[in-house]
């Protein structure tokens, strides 16, 4: 027996030892032998016994490069599928023997690495599915938890409710990914404290001292709970059943099963014996609130299996999946016409893909989905599609603008560098395009129809302007009135903002705050020669800038990853990437060291895409010249005598995967226009949508889902709603395997 194993191992090993050098010799050694050692990798020295940690690191890199087909590089002959498969299977097999988890498997589940899957193979129709997701548990997002607490009435006011869940706050990354979210013991402790507060609120009530010193009891106690806690004797069976049933309906939207009812009753009786009626009931109520089903969205696939062995989500599962995809509310609180999403699902009206599509569209169009978390209280845009808005935040990352630190000497206090307001303007920009639902991606990338200080309606405008006129208590009252009179005397409309420094913020759009004729109807056109889509919006430009300068590298990286579905390797450990501070030169010139051969392999993917944005400064203002020798501030008067040089906004699209758009660009506008016309960019947008709405990275079996979503987008005139409806009615969304 032992001998057989030895022979087998020797056979496998010798097979590899023969095969691997051949593979390496044919495809790798020209760049990675002892003489060339490109990127510090010498495959001739690589040991194949997988025992040495440094060899394992190299094998991890080899597997990653080969599986993502990044190596051999495009210009070299491609290995055939068989050779490819042989090598990767062998490495994986060796890893398995040593219980080593391939890092690429971990990465493939992370949002940052979604593009690791070959783009062309996803869209060329070679992958036929059938698509499905793996059965999964998806921990609630903090937004859903917030909404859930809001629905419990006044408990937030009466007790401290801690947010037990957090999600990734990184810029430009889909935050709520199912694989990343779990509840551990630290989360559990917070949850338990919250649940205890809620249970007290539901029973005896929480006593709280109000702002005026008065003690007030806050409670929301159903009759059945009141009957139990106010009684001196143990509750009857029917009271117990009713109380448990009430809590199940409240937190799970369903009745308990007979087993659940039996167990909960036992718990309640035991708890009452140990702690009395009130505390006993509270314990039982907490137990329902802590059920895994309350913390996790269960998407197991309890429906019928099909011929491929896939199981459909049950009606109940589907209702929750759709509800939390589109809103932060449970399905019994999402109305679709006269029904709720839950009743629709339960009555079999979501049985077909067509019906799901129609329902999704109806919800997206209904405009009253949940409470807005942005200030878009407009009669023109009643949309409260906060989930859609969050997609744009995750995708573009522009809402990070307020988190980018700008040295105070550059902006001064109360200077009008109001990044929060700029983000609101950007929210209005993207949601207006979402509402119009026509040629969405193209408009996102090229529209110059902007919102600046739009208050949502003419009524709000009149209200705010009246307030400013009458607010004699404001320190800047006289200045405000003088400004309004001067502007109106010139036959123009004043900016409805109080305080001269607040009004200066419009300068970040290159608008002269002293003389601007404020457009009461918005969006309005900014000069085509200055703005084109969200990537030229100050919010995006600031979010993707540094503390003192623009950040062409990260801007380029964003385009590479988000619009071209490509990826850039992590920065090598040995590189200490510092941009020269020598301001005698332009930023473009200061990036020159990245043109060194060893750097340019990666930087050519980023810099030429980011440098056209040099037509803007790091506050998002359009410019034709760059200030030299000094650090730029937002105050033009400080730089009047500064040495300047004209902007070179040229760039290049290199190896985009779409030959039609590759080549030099003269300006940022040419770059964006070209990107907006590319099928590759559209497909990349579809891929990122997939990740957001399904909460995971796509796999090859999702190829039909992506192709259908892309088609739905095109056939409906660039409709993002059609794209979402297609994704949420796809096999990838509905089936589990």
């Amino acid at each position: 027996m032992k001998l057989n194993i030895v022979i087998l191992v020797l056979c496998v090993l010798s097979e590899f030892l023969l095969a691997s050098p051949k593979f390496f010799a044919k495809h790798c050694n020209e760049c990675h032998d002892s003489e060339t050692s490109k990127a510090g990798l010498n495959l001739e020295e690589l040991r194949s016994d997988f025992s040495e940690p440094s060899s394992i690191d190299v094998w991890q890199r080899v597997l990653e490069q080969i599986e993502t087909r990044r190596m051999p590089p495009n210009k070299r002959p491609r290995p055939n599928d068989l050779a490819h498969e042989e090598l990767t299977s062998w490495i994986r097999g060796e890893f398995a023997k040593k219980n080593i988890v391939p890092t690429i498997d971990h990465k493939r589940k992370m949002p940052d690495y979604g593009n690791y899957l070959d783009h062309d193979s996803l869209f060329d129709g070679s992958q036929t599915g059938p698509a499905s997701s793996t059965p999964r548990l998806w921990r609630l997002s903090p937004h859903i938890y917030d909404e859930f607490i809001k629905n419990l009435g006044n408990v937030r006011h009466a007790a401290t409710i801690h947010q037990p869940f957090s999600i990734d706050e990184s810029k430009g990354v889909i935050a709520d990914f199912s694989t990343q979210q779990f509840a551990d013991s630290a989360t559990l402790q917070l949850l338990m404290m919250n649940c205890q507060s809620i249970a007290v609120y539901q029973t005896t009530g929480i006593l709280k001292r109000e702002w005026d010193g008065r003690m007030q009891l806050h409670r929301q106690t159903p009759d059945i709970f009141r009957d139990i806690i106010e009684s001196d004797i143990a509750p009857t069976t029917s009271q117990v059943n009713e109380a448990i049933s009430h809590q199940y309906q409240l937190f799970l939207g369903r009745e308990p099963t007979s087993v659940e009812l039996k167990n909960a009753s036992q718990l309640l009786s035991e708890a009452i014996r140990s702690g009395g009626n009130a505390r006993g009931l509270q314990t039982a109520l907490v137990s329902v609130m802590l059920k895994p089903e309350v913390i996790y969205r269960l998407e197991i696939g309890f429906g019928e299996p099909d011929k491929h062995g896939r199981r459909r989500l049950s009606a109940y599962e589907l209702a929750f999946a759709l509800s939390y995809a589109l809103t932060d509310k449970p399905p019994d609180q999402v109305n679709v016409g006269a029904e709720t999403l839950l009743t629709l699902a339960r009555s079999g009206k979501l049985d077909s893909s067509k019906n799901i599509k129609r329902t999704v569209k109806a919800i997206l169009d209904s405009n009253d989905m949940s409470v807005a978390d942005y200030r878009m209280f407009t009669e023109d845009h009643k949309v409260r599609n906060t989930r859609a808005l969050r997609f744009f935040h995750d995708f573009f990352g522009y809402h990070h603008a307020p988190r980018v630190f700008k040295d105070e000497n550059r902006i001064s206090v109360d200077s009008g560098f109001d990044t929060e307001r700029i983000v609101t303007d950007a929210d209005q920009f993207v949601m207006n395009i979402f509402d119009n639902d026509s040629d969405v991606l193209r408009n996102l990338l090229t529209s110059n129809n902007y919102f600046v200080t739009y208050l949502g309606s003419d009524k709000h405008f009149q209200h705010d302007l009246k307030y400013i006129r009458e607010n004699v208590n404001d320190a800047g009252y006289k200045t405000n009135i003088a400004y309004i009179r001067r502007i109106e005397a010139a036959g123009k409309t004043p900016i409805p903002l109080e305080g001269p420094s607040s009004r200066t913020y419009v300068g970040f759009y290159n608008i002269d705050h002293e003389n601007w004729d404020y457009p009461r109807k918005q969006p309005f056109s900014l000069p085509e020669s200055q703005r084109s889509g969200i990537l030229t919006h100050p919010a995006w430009l600031i979010a993707w800038s540094g503390n003192f300068d623009n950040d062409p590298i990260r801007r380029g990286k964003w385009i590479r990853e988000h619009l071209l579905a490509d990826y850039v390797p992590e920065i090598p450990i040995t590189v200490n990437a510092v941009i020269s501070e020598d301001r005698k030169h332009t930023l473009r010139d200061r990036l020159e060291p990245t043109r060194a051969k060893e750097c340019w392999t990666c930087h050519k993917k980023m810099n030429p895409l980011g440098l056209p944005f040099e037509n803007f400064d790091d506050f998002g203002r359009f410019r034709n010249a760059e200030v030299l020798d000094e650090i730029l501030s937002i105050f033009p008067e400080r730089h009047r005598d500064a040495r300047t040089t004209p902007i070179d906004a040229s760039g290049e699209i290199i190896d985009s995967g779409d030959k039609q758009i590759d080549g030099n660009v003269k300006s940022v506008f040419e770059l964006l226009d070209r990107l907006a016309n590319s099928p590759r960019v559209r497909q990349s947008f579809v891929r990122h949508n997939f990740r957001y709405w399904l909460g995971r990275n796509e796999t090859f079996s999702d190829s039909p889902t992506l192709i259908n979503a892309d088609r739905a987008y095109i056939e409906n005139g660039g409709s993002m709603k059609a794209l979402i409806a297609s994704l949420l009615s796809s096999d990838s969304f509905i089936y589990r395997k």
Binding site: G40, H106, T134, P135, R136, L137, R139, H162, Q163, P164, S166, D168, E169, S170, K171, V173, F182, A183, D184, S185, A186, T187, L188, Q189, L190, M193, V259, N263, L267, E270, A271, S274, G275, G276, R279, G280, T283, V286, S287, L290, K291, P292, E293, I295, Y296, L298, I300, H400, R403, F405, D407, E408, N409, N547, I573, T574, N576, R736
Partner: protein, 469 residues
């Protein structure tokens, strides 16, 4: 119990113990043979720990040079040879004065590098783990245990790792919940949580010590609830097959560990009651310095009561403003040398450092007041003060200063050590120092984290020889 313990120890001698049990057995063995428990307290500040500010005052003229620009912190003059001086022979720097009473247990280490880490605002897990990870706003992946995580495993206790913090990730402000600052990990992909609310930290660590009839009933109800939940989750688990089993197991083990923890805490009830800090207004205060003080009270009590052997206090983040110290600018602004009312940025940073060291001194005094073996608890403790941004606001990691305090300080106290500069003969890295820590904990490591590829591997192996006592 005694017999069982002997049996266990006997098992150890015959090699019949699984590796998983080993740390626990080691602890038993230590207790049984009269060896005392070992404790670590890490204090991790943001925005760099300025090397020049740690130089004894009388040596400043020869060992410190002015900063590159006006208002920038002065810099340490690199050395080509190891400097090893008794601190007592010199004038302790101003901001370190709170530690003067403990000078026999105090070691200042300068000149170690950590170029295997990412620099900038934070090296994230790398600072305590010795590897490159993360980017500007994101900690990235924890690719292996950080040294506090590794110590938590080597020195097991009811709460193996207690993390206390003001904020979350480095660029965020004060938080009030459980957060993941991205500086500690128990293992690969197992980031360690930190509690940002002192009140919540108190409840979870010392809640079991509450007294009275109601408290007893509450404890009983908690037990009933936890038992019920464990059964309930197991039932759900059996009904969903293999779907995302890890997540449910995670949730289940959270209940299990709470249950287990309560049982163990019960046994230590009296000790916990004796050590638990008094809950004052500081615990609920909005003032940052109050919250930090509360966290240090909790840290001391967690160590003294024996419920934890490894505590990490994340002393601040970049968005924290030390209003309680009269500083009107957040740490980030100070790091960028912005002006601040009534003082220079360097003075403000020095004031913050002094405040941190006052807190450390308070903990040290508390530990010193508790007899243990032939000495005090401080003799069996090591307090480690560092910054996750190494030596400055945008750390380059080319030098990484440490302040060590406590009887466990490797190589004894009363020392000022400055290692030869990067790539000079005799230079070492932070990984060597962490090997020293693991050595102290009885789980010696030869290599910690990853190598800095710019240095010979052999100098990165093993503990710092100068600190082996």
């Amino acid at each position: 119990m005694k017999l069982e313990r002997r049996q266990l120890l006997k098992g150890l001698a015959t090699g019949a113990v699984t590796p998983l049990l080993k740390p626990f057995i080691n602890n038993l063995y230590a207790e049984d043979s009269g060896v005392l428990p070992k404790r670590f307290l890490f204090v991790v500040k943001s925005s760099g720990l300025t090397p020049a500010e740690l130089v004894p005052a009388d040596l400043v003229p020869s060992m410190v040079r002015p900063g590159e620009r006006e208002d920038w912190p002065a810099e340490l003059v690199p050395t080509k040879k190891l400097i090893d001086l008794p601190l007592k022979d010199h004038k302790i720097p101003e901001s370190l004065k709170p530690l003067l009473p403990f000078i026999d247990d105090l070691t200042i280490i300068q000149g170690l590098s950590g170029k295997m880490c990412r620099g900038g605002h934070s090296a994230w897990y790398g600072a305590l783990g010795c590897y490159h990870t993360g980017n500007e706003g994101n900690p990235g992946r924890a690719s292996s245990a950080t040294v506090d995580g590794a110590l938590a495993k080597a020195l097991p206790s009811i709460f193996p790792h207690v993390g206390l913090t003001l904020g979350g990730k480095v660029l965020t402000g004060v938080k009030d919940s459980v957060v993941y600052p991205g500086i500690s990990a128990l293992d690969a992909d197992r980031p360690l949580p930190y509690q940002a609310s002192p009140v919540m930290a108190y409840k979870s660590l010392f809640g079991v010590a509450a007294t009275g009839k109601d408290a007893e009933a509450d404890n009983l109800l908690q037990t009933i609830l936890l038992d019920h939940m464990v059964d309930d989750i197991k039932r759900v688990r059996s009904s969903i097959g293999n779907a995302d089993k890890d997540k449910l197991n995670h949730y289940l083990s959270a209940f299990d560990s709470l249950r287990d923890r309560r049982r163990k805490l019960k046994g230590l009830e009296a000790k916990i009651r004796g050590a638990a800090p008094k809950v004052t207004d500081k615990f609920t205060s909005e003032v940052e310095t109050d919250r930090i003080e509360a966290h240090f009270d909790i840290a001391a009590a967690a160590l003294i009561s024996g419920i934890s052997n490894v505590v990490n206090v994340r002393a601040d983040t970049l968005e924290v403003t030390y209003r309680g110290l009269g500083i009107s600018k957040h740490v980030h602004g100070l790091g960028h040398s912005e002006s601040v009312d009534g003082m220079t940025p360097v003075e403000a940073r020095s004031r913050i450092r002094t405040f941190h060291l006052e807190q450390i001194a308070r903990v040290a005094a508390k530990l010193k007041a508790v007899p243990e073996g032939d000495g005090t608890m401080l003799d069996n403790t090591l307090i480690v003060y560092l910054s996750d941004a190494a030596e400055k606001h945008h750390g380059s990691c080319i030098e990484w200063p440490f302040i060590l305090l406590g009887g466990l300080a490797p190589g004894g106290g009363n020392r000022y050590l400055q290692y030869p500069e990067y790539r000079q003969s005799g230079h070492h890295t932070i990984a060597n120092l962490y090997n020293n820590f693991m050595h102290i904990a009885g789980e010696p490591t030869d290599k910690f984290g990853r190598f800095d590829t710019g240095l010979p591997e052999k100098i990165q192996l093993g503990p710092l020889p100068e600190l082996l006592s």
